[in-house]
């Protein structure tokens, strides 16, 4: 009898949970309504260990060990916490969230910093650990669909410390669930200095085949224990050690097409090459010359286009990355047996280089944002990073350009995908010469002979 009751109770609970989940409602509503939301400790009632686990992810640390990039220390963690490259030119260390010097024109200041998107409260900042850090995690900024962003603003507390506010209202907590596109885009759409600047894509039904099907970011970037799978973008180094690929068996598999000839292409051509024929976003920035904006503060001079307004460049990519002061991009070749022809968003940035060592220098944005003095920004960063003779370094710093190949992994299309003649033609989108093909191979690769009979038959069937 006891056993029967226990089984009935278990089935009842399971049914309730299933019903709640099927209805898209996060369980625990009654408990939150009754006790209010107290931050991560409320979440921990059902998800014990989550906050501590989250502190060991890239979203909290903004860094990880990196194994596929040349010229860096395998024992050191790299990411937006400490990297120096020309999309941002600063990082969480030199551009720690702070109040910038007052504008000499208006006398006004403002808060600025690379770590404004960090999901802590800034007192517990990038990479912090311990009980205070666990309690500082802003679970709701990623998990609530009713977050009031007026609360998420930096301010100074009574000790003069800069604190990032959070919405910890019961109202926001009652709207929790799997992160929506909006939750991710709160930070990711404005990275690099504005909307559609860094990555150059928007994830809407009009711009992406996956979004058009109602998918959200975490359907592909499916996290386990908050560890987020990513692709192999040559410029996105930090990772949680898990990766996502179109060819995953739960997605498209290694033979995604009905046509065997198309599937044969998958051995040498990345899916993105045909299915992401356009890109967008910033294509050039100048950190040595900042433009005054209408509020009389300054921003780096930036040239940009909308999503789908620029064309990618194509290169062989084997997942490893060349990393020099003037170039960050894919390594690979036609002959290595591992590489695929892959599209990239090209970006070029101008910044200051160390005259003595040739290394790219970092910049603290506080001073240039206030009055446009970029060398003062270099000086401040050099001091923060403990470089020897920072005044000399800043005074002698030499402007120069760095080219970066960004991964082009969104703006997926089925209907506008490249087809045979887009590439296999004398004026095709792929530069076979640059990709290492011989003249003889190019003659063959750019002839309709490759597809004439098949496409003629298909055309006949279609009409």
């Amino acid at each position: 009898m006891k056993m029967t009751k226990a089984i009935a109770a278990a089935l009842g609970l399971a049914l309730t949970a299933t019903t709640v989940l099927a209805a898209g409602v996060h369980p625990g509503k009654e408990s939150i309504e009754k006790s209010g939301y107290k931050g991560p400790e409320t979440c921990e009632e059902c998800h014990p260990g989550s906050a501590k686990g989250f502190l060991d992810t890239v979203h909290w640390k903004h860094a990880s060990k990196v194994t596929n990039v040349e010229g860096i220390d395998a024992k050191v963690e790299y990411g937006m916490k400490n990297r120096i490259y020309v999309m941002c030119n600063g990082n969480d260390i030199v551009n720690n969230l702070k109040e910038i010097p007052k504008s000499p024109v208006t006398g006004k200041s403002k808060f600025s910093g690379c770590n404004t998107c960090h999901p802590g409260n800034h007192l517990s900042d990038v990479g912090s650990t311990g009980a205070a850090a666990e309690a500082a995690v802003d679970c709701l900024v990623c998990h609530s669909t009713d977050y009031d962003f007026r609360q998420r603003k930096p301010f100074k507390n009574e000790k003069g410390e800069v604190v990032m506010g959070q919405d910890r209202s019961t109202k926001a907590a009652l709207a929790i669930g799997k992160p929506t596109v909006k939750n991710c885009m709160v930070c990711h759409e404005a990275a690099g200095g504005g909307v559609i600047v860094k990555r150059g894509f928007s994830f809407t039904k009009d711009t992406d085949a996956h979004a058009a099907k109602g998918m959200v970011c975490v359907d592909c970037h499916k996290a386990k224990d908050h560890k987020m799978p990513t692709g192999h973008d040559p410029n996105n180094w930090a990772n949680d050690g898990v990766f996502v690929s179109c060819a995953d068996t739960s997605c498209h598999g290694v033979k995604p097409h009905k046509d065997a000839d198309l599937n044969r292409h998958c051995a040498k051509i990345a899916c993105q090459t045909c299915h992401i024929p356009r890109t967008g976003g910033a294509f050039a920035k100048d950190f040595t010359v900042w433009e005054q904006t209408p509020d009389k503060f300054y921003e780096p001079t930036t040239l940009k286009k909308e999503a789908n307004e620029t064309t990618p460049v194509y290169a062989w990519y084997n997942g490893t990355v060349k990393n020099t002061p003037h170039f960050i991009g894919p390594k690979g070749s036609k002959k290595d047996g591992k590489s695929k022809i892959t599209p990239f968003k090209i970006f070029q940035g101008k910044a200051y280089y160390n005259k003595q060592t040739g290394e790219l220098l970092s910049m603290d944005f506080a001073q240039p944002m206030s009055d446009g003095d970029t060398r003062a920004g270099v000086l401040s960063a050099a001091k923060t990073l403990g470089l020897k003779n920072p005044e000399k370094i800043a005074k002698e710093a030499v402007p120069g350009w760095q080219t970066i190949y960004f991964g082009s992994n969104h703006l997926v299309t089925k209907t506008k995908a490249l087809y045979c003649a887009n590439c296999h033609a004398p004026n095709g989108v792929l530069n076979f010469k640059d990709l290492g093909y011989s003249d003889k191979e190019i003659v063959k690769l750019t002839s309709p002979e490759l597809f004439m009979e098949k496409l003629a038959q298909k055309q006949k069937e279609e009409w």
Partner: protein, 109 residues
């Protein structure tokens, strides 16, 4: 003679005015501007339309923009876009309204 000259001057001024400002008022043409939000009017969480008043950075004129796209409306509702934000905007004049085609904050991290 003086009258004829005056008329000609008036006509010339009128033509110049139409030439200079004609594009601003013409329907169907996309107009670009950057300005700071001085006011947002939106009627609650279920609103399907809102208006935002922008102060044009170049002309300092106030321009009332009608916003109808879900993405921007959502940003008004959860206050990701608020008064004081600088906006890059493209709009078209449709039935006398400046209807937004692109409405984005200029700032980022």
């Amino acid at each position: 003679m003086k009258k004829a000259v005056s008329v000609m001057v008036l006509v010339a001024v009128a033509a110049l005015t139409i030439f200079c400002f004609g594009s601003v008022a013409s329907a169907g043409e996309e107009i670009k501007m950057v300005g700071v939000i001085t006011k947002i009017d939106i009627a609650g969480k279920d609103a399907k339309t809102a208006t935002a008043t922008l102060k044009d950075n170049k002309t300092e004129q106030l321009v009332v923009i009608t916003v109808e796209d879900d993405l921007t409306l959502d940003k008004f509702k959860d206050h990701r876009i608020v008064e004081g934000d600088e906006i890059r905007c493209k709009y078209e004049v449709i039935d006398g309204k400046n209807v937004s085609k692109l409405f984005r904050k200029t700032a980022g991290c």
